[in-house]
Structures are given as C-alpha cells and as structure tokens.
C-alpha cells in the first residue's frame, strides 16, 4: 500500500504543484503567448522525432540480444549438461566451453589445493582427472565456462576468470570478486503489462555452474583440506 502511495500520490502532488505554478507564472510572464507556446511544443515534438530518427539510424546496440529460438537451443543444451553432470559423465566438457588452461608446475608427489571463493558468490564445480599423459610435477587446470544468459543477453564473456597459481608448492584457486555490470535497455512497451502477461516468456536467467578440471599424473596425491572434491 505504501508503495502505491508513493508511486501515485507523490507524483500527483508534484505534478499538481508544477501545473499550478506554471499557470501562475505564465500569467505573470507575458512572453508566453499561445502562439509561442504552440511553437515551443511543436519544436519539442520535432526534437523527439529527430531523436527517434537518430537512434534508429545511428545507434546500434553493441550487445546482441539472443533470439527466442537461440535461447531455446541453449536451454536444451544446458539441460543436457546437467544430465551428463549428474551421471558423472564428463563428456560434456567439450572444447566449445573451454575458456582457459593453466599449465602449472610443482614439486613432490602431493599437491595441497587451496580454494578461495571469497565473497564472489561464484559456484565452481571442481573435478580431478588422473591423466597418464602428464609428466609428474605438472598439472593442467582447465576452466570451462557454460553459457550465462540473463534476460536474453549472453554474459559468458563477462564472467571473470579465476586466479590459478602455484605458490609454496600449493595450488591456489581464487575466484575474483563480484563483477558488477549495468545495462541500459530501451524497451518501448509498457512494463506493467509485459511483467504480468509474459510469465511463460523467455526464462529470466539461465546458467550452469562452471567447472574447473584439474589434470594431474596418477602418482600425485591431491590434498583437499576443504573437502571440495
């Protein structure tokens, strides 16, 4: 109720004040003859038209919006990923989603892992793969990034990469702090109507936990003090 009050009555009072004030002022200021007011209003309308033409011709959005069918495709893909993931089938970790690989070196046969997710709120799944093709003293850390779709925009590229490094013979994986992104969207419709009507329209947000796969030789023992694996 209070929100309705503020949304409706405050503007009401505000507009009433402005309209009354202008009414009084226009009587005092003699330059505002009807003719001049009409010219003023007409030029405002013309300005609006020019603005419209300018935007429609010269202002291209650099952020592509995904089409509805594209979103549907991605939805299916993400569903499949989830299915594979639940079955511990890592075949979904394809080249397509591979974002970055770190080639790291360490000494000895044990590698303690310290994961610091901080306040980033990121959710990364960790996998360990014993790989016979890797020499001892080496580890491959691969970061897989799945599509992140928020309100029809693909944000995959915006997700910050984690920091991965070896220090003091320990593997550190640190997620970067939260990334703030602002978008300004021009949608020439009535939001109140769309919000209530299009309940089953495009999903609001789609994403799937990103995965970090650590490939290490069989001889190495990964020490996991945080119990993440």
């Amino acid at each position: 109720m209070t929100t309705t009050f503020f949304l409706f009555f405050i503007p009401l009072l505000f507009i009433a004040a402005i309209v009354l004030l202008l009414g009084k002022l226009s009587k005092k200021i003699k330059i505002w003859t009807p003719k001049r007011i009409i010219i003023g209003i007409t030029s405002y309308i013309v300005l609006g038209l020019i603005a419209f033409l300018y935007i429609s011709f010269f202002s291209e959005s650099k952020i592509p919006l995904l089409s509805f069918s594209k979103i549907k495709q991605l939805e299916i893909k993400l569903d499949q990923i989830q299915k594979y993931d639940q079955e511990d089938d890592s075949s979904y970790l394809t080249e397509e989603y591979k974002k970055k690989t770190w080639d790291l070196k360490y000494e000895g046969n044990t590698l303690p892992v310290v994961i610091n997710e901080g306040d980033s709120g990121s959710s990364i799944n960790f996998r360990v793969r014993y790989n016979d093709n890797i020499e001892s003293g080496k580890a491959l850390v691969t970061y897989y990034q799945f599509p992140v779709i928020v309100e029809g925009i693909d944000l995959s590229d915006e997700v910050p990469l984690p920091n991965v490094y070896v220090a003091q013979n320990q593997l550190f994986i640190e997620a970067l702090s939260k990334q703030q992104i602002n978008y300004y969207r021009i949608n020439a419709t009535l939001g109140i109507l769309d919000m209530n009507r299009e309940i089953e329209h495009k999903p609001y947000a789609m994403f799937y936990s990103n995965v970090i796969v650590i490939d290490i030789p069989r001889s190495t023992v990964l020490e996991d003090s945080q119990g993440l694996f």
């Binding site: 507009i15 402005i18 309209v19 202002s59 291209e60 992140v148 978008y183 969207r185 021009i186």
Partner: protein, 242 residues
Amino acid sequence: MQSLTNISLKTIVIKQVKWKAKLYISALSSLVIVQIIFGILTFGSGSGSSGSGQGSLNVQFSNYSLDMILIISAIWAFIVALLFTTKAHRIDDLSVISSRTSSAIANIFVIIIYSFFAVIIMISTYYLQALGIALAEKNSLVIDNLFISPSILILCFSSICLFGAMGLLLGTIFKGPAVIKIFVSMFILLGLILIFMSPGSINLLPIIMLSNLMISVLYLFVAVLCFSLTIRIADKSEVSRK
C-alpha cells in the same frame, strides 16, 4: 422586433473548442515541462530497474519503458481536466455565447484533443530520453524494442483520456447540484475505506491480461461514461460565481 439569431449547439461547441484549445494551451506546455523534469529525474534508472546475481556476476538492468511517462501524463490529464472545471474557466465561458452543456461538451473535446497531443509529447520525451541514454551509455545499451506499437499508442491515448474524463467528471460534480455532490462524496469515501481496509480486494490482473486493444476499448468505454455523466450533471448545474 429584430429577428432572433438561431445558432445550433453544434456551431457553438465548435467555436468554443476552437478558442478553448488555443487558450488552455499552457496545459500542454506544463506537460512538456513536467515530462522534462521527470525525464531528468529518471535518467539514471529509467522506469524501473531489475538486478540479478549470477555466480560472480551482478547484473543490473535499467529499463527504459513507457510506464513512468504514461503515469505522469495520466495524472497530468486528471489535474488539467479538474482545472478546466474551476471557477476562472467557467466564468470565462459566460463572456461568450455558451450554455453549461456547450461548455461541458467543449471541455470534453479539448481533453480528447489534448490527450492526443499528450501521447505525441510522451513519445517525444521517450525518444529524447532514449537518445540521451544511447549517447551517454553507448557500450551498455541494449535495444529490445525501439518502435512503439500502434496498439500501445492507442492504449496510452485511452488511458490519458480516461484520467481526463475522471477529472472533468469530478470537477463538474463538485459544481453541480448538492444531491449528486453528497452521493459522490459518500461513494468516494466508501471506496477509499475499502481500498485501505483490504487492498487485495481490487484485482486488476484480469484487465491486464486482456489484449492492448481490449483494454483500450474498456478504458474508452469508461471515459465515454464519465463524459456523458459530465454533460448530464452540467445540464442541471446552475452558474455559481462566488
């Protein structure tokens, strides 16, 4: 005896509309100024913003839709229509050939004409604001929908018209016969009590779920109802110049 002049109501209404539309023009200029002020106030946030956190992303959307300027225009129409029925304007009407009926009908037409212009001014404000955003935030601009669909325009027009009609009706009621005044005051009071006692009792969702055109038709229907009531009450009203 000199022959009497015979002038039809229609002729007088047309003349009154012509003069009133010109003389009340400051109403439209106030709309422009109100919209510029609100346009600047909402420049950073638009009509509303939505945020969402996705993993390590915090995404904030500022949505620039027509909602805010439509609400402002509707409120403006209500206030302006109310002002049309005030003493100053009513007395001005007496200086030329007019009856309460002709003045009421003329006011209605002026409100309809002004609603039409209000929609155009609204569009102008919207695109001017959009242009500002497009220039200021070139890199994070998302264009969902640049063209306002005709059905939305009709809906805007009918909403503004409806609020104007309500303003005229309310203004006329409080200059009309005492019986109607008391009746309507009671009605409004009961309505307000109902809203404050149980806000959930009014459910607008079924209306919102209708198509744009259906909502417009519904709004215009209510507006016409208000207009005809305005004329009926004006018919019965005396001139009060106190």
